[in-house]
């Protein structure tokens, strides 16, 4: 059982007020809040051992390098990667996806096909469109149904020996749908295609075991799992990371440089050019430690309880419609109230101290599918409470009475 009161005490920001009201933070799918334990790690870094890594002979540099590599090992254990160098530090999921897309430019040919799901974040659509523009390959879309689930039958029909890559999120950011990635990965491998799973929205709720999944690439952003912004990771199978060319040139990623030829460093440094977000990487590890200490099973069980409660309570409001009603969902509710623009509801909720996201959630194709301008999205974290759900419901009712 989660002790939510104790947990809330770990998050200083949850004590603040917004517009004179206690903050009710329900925008966790955009970014999660940071516990004191992680803030302390960030402070400790700058107080005690801020230095550049992997190149200094002095004590501080060695300490920073050790902590950074410890963080890599924490991430490796968390996702059960076979080797630490299969974990590449990046600035986040967008960076990770671009790294892979760029790497595949030299491997993809004109007649190849790339499959992408209909419920992707723009960051998992645009890099592939750019890749297709560069290579002449064709981008095909795995469709979704009204419930916000992928149409798996069509997926299997779309797969062919021409398919070289499949991209899909583990969990949809706009709808909360948990996608059947085991089936997606298994079927793709049968036709010889590689699979990248965007785990940005799944990471706060589900542990992905990359070996059990047999996934080729998996990405996580630190700021969705109680860590800092600007840090994240790309998991890649060793064989793939060896095949892909480097993404950016610079220091750290080289073995030897002359003006005639440069040889690249081994993994993971080949993909980590320049001075990385050292503090961010270390704090990323600390954030995963924090969440594992609470326990992902307990987190998932509690969040499902919040999701069920919030769904029931919101549906009691007349004219409220929820988008994304998949059987398997994380604690995300996208909704609209009849005849009211989501932006208007979001504005009134903000005045009441309630933080939600409004708009298309960087997933415009989903909004086009439902023929709506956007939604209001409330996303719950393990530090949210049923009382906060009640505040949200009361807020939506108040907004409705003001706006209609």
């Amino acid at each position: 059982m989660l002790k939510v009161t104790n947990i809330r005490n770990d998050f200083p920001i949850l004590k603040r007020e917004v517009n004179g009201k206690p903050l009710v933070y329900l925008d966790n799918a955009a970014t999660s809040q940071t516990p004191q334990q992680v803030i302390d790690v960030i402070t400790d870094y700058y107080h005690n051992y801020n230095a550049n890594i992997h190149r200094g002979v002095h004590a501080l540099s060695q300490e920073a390098t050790d902590k950074y590599e410890e963080a890599r090992a924490i991430i490796q254990r968390h996702i059960n990667a076979a080797k630490p160098h299969e974990v590449i530090f990046t600035s986040g999921t967008t960076h990770s996806i671009n790294l892979v897309a760029n790497g595949f430019s030299s491997l993809i040919k004109k007649e190849d096909e790339i499959l992408v799901s209909a419920m992707e974040h723009h960051s998992n659509i645009v890099p592939w469109q750019m890749l297709c523009e560069r290579t002449g390959a064709t981008l095909k879309v795995i469709p979704m149904n009204q419930e916000g689930e992928l149409v798996m039958k069509t997926y299997h029909e779309l797969l062919s020996p021409k398919t070289k890559l499949v991209f899909c999120n583990h969990v949809s950011n706009a709808l909360g749908t948990v996608n059947p990635i085991e089936e997606i990965i298994g079927a793709a491998h049968k036709v010889g295609a590689a699979v990248l799973i965007d785990g940005a929205q799944a990471a706060p709720h589900i542990i992905a075991d990359v070996q059990a999944l047999d996934v080729d690439f998996y990405t996580i952003s630190a700021h969705k799992v109680c860590g800092p912004t600007g840090a994240g990771m790309l998991y890649g199978k060793e064989e793939w990371l060896k095949r892909l060319p480097p993404y950016q040139g610079g220091g750290e990623m080289i073995a030897e440089v002359t003006f005639e030829k440069t040889t690249y460093a081994d993994l993971p440094h080949k993909f980590e050019a320049g001075t990385p977000n050292i503090c961010g990487g270390i704090a990323f590890g600390a954030a995963l430690d924090y969440m594992n200490h609470i326990g992902f099973d307990a987190i998932a069980a509690y969040e499902q309880e919040l999701l069920t409660y919030a769904t029931e309570q919101l549906l009691s409001i007349e004219g409220l419609k929820i988008y994304g009603t998949a059987k398997e969902k994380t604690s995300v509710i996208s909704f609209n109230v009849e005849q009211i623009h989501p932006y208007d509801i979001g504005t009134i909720l903000d005045k009441l101290g309630i933080a939600v996201r409004t708009g298309h959630h960087c997933a415009q194709p989903i909004m086009d599918f439902y023929k709506i301008p956007g939604t209001v999205r409330a996303s719950f974290c393990f530090y949210n409470t049923k009382e906060e759900v009640d505040t949200l419901v009361a807020g939506v009712k108040r907004a409705k009475s003001m706006l209609l």
Binding site: N19, I340, H341, P342, Y343, D344, T347, I348, K351, T358, G359, H360, P373, G374, M402, L403
Partner: protein, 140 residues
């Protein structure tokens, strides 16, 4: 009436409200009651891009004054548009170019005009001023 005088009038009206609820209710009423734009001008060309709520603006010169009509699919945005139109429409282009928008701060709606707020109002003001510049050039 000059833009400045109208702005003072709006500030006066808003000073009667005690809290945000009343200010917003007033704006929502403005948004609901005003037909702001003729349907034929609600075209994609007249949409200000990159906003969460759609904002349409149309400008027409009547004698030496510029008349604006506008609309939005979000009601609060529409209410603020109504206030902006009241201040800037039916004015000489040069006066629109010279006008400032500080009165939005004074009526407690500053957050809506933050450049990072994705409601299109900052772009809308820019668009009003661009129209004014264009018509000013035309007038010579």
């Amino acid at each position: 009436m000059s833009i400045k005088a109208i702005q003072e009038e709006i500030i006066d009206e808003f000073s009667m409200f005690d809290d945000w609820m009343q200010r917003y209710e007033y704006m929502i009423d403005l948004g609901k009651s005003l037909p702001l734009i003729v349907d034929k001008y609600k075209t994609d060309d007249n949409i200000i891009k990159g906003c969460q709520s759609k904002v349409w603006v149309h400008a027409e010169l009547e004698a030496d004054k510029l008349v604006f009509t506008a609309d939005s699919d979000a009601i609060i945005t529409k209410g603020i548009i109504a206030i902006l139109i009241r201040a800037f429409s039916n004015q000489k282009p040069q006066d629109i170019i010279d006008a400032d928008t500080h009165f939005i701060d004074e009526i407690g709606l500053k957050e809506h005009l933050s450049p990072t707020r994705a409601n299109g109002l900052v772009s809308m003001i820019k668009q009003l001023k661009l129209y004014a510049v264009a018509y000013q050039t035309q007038l010579g």
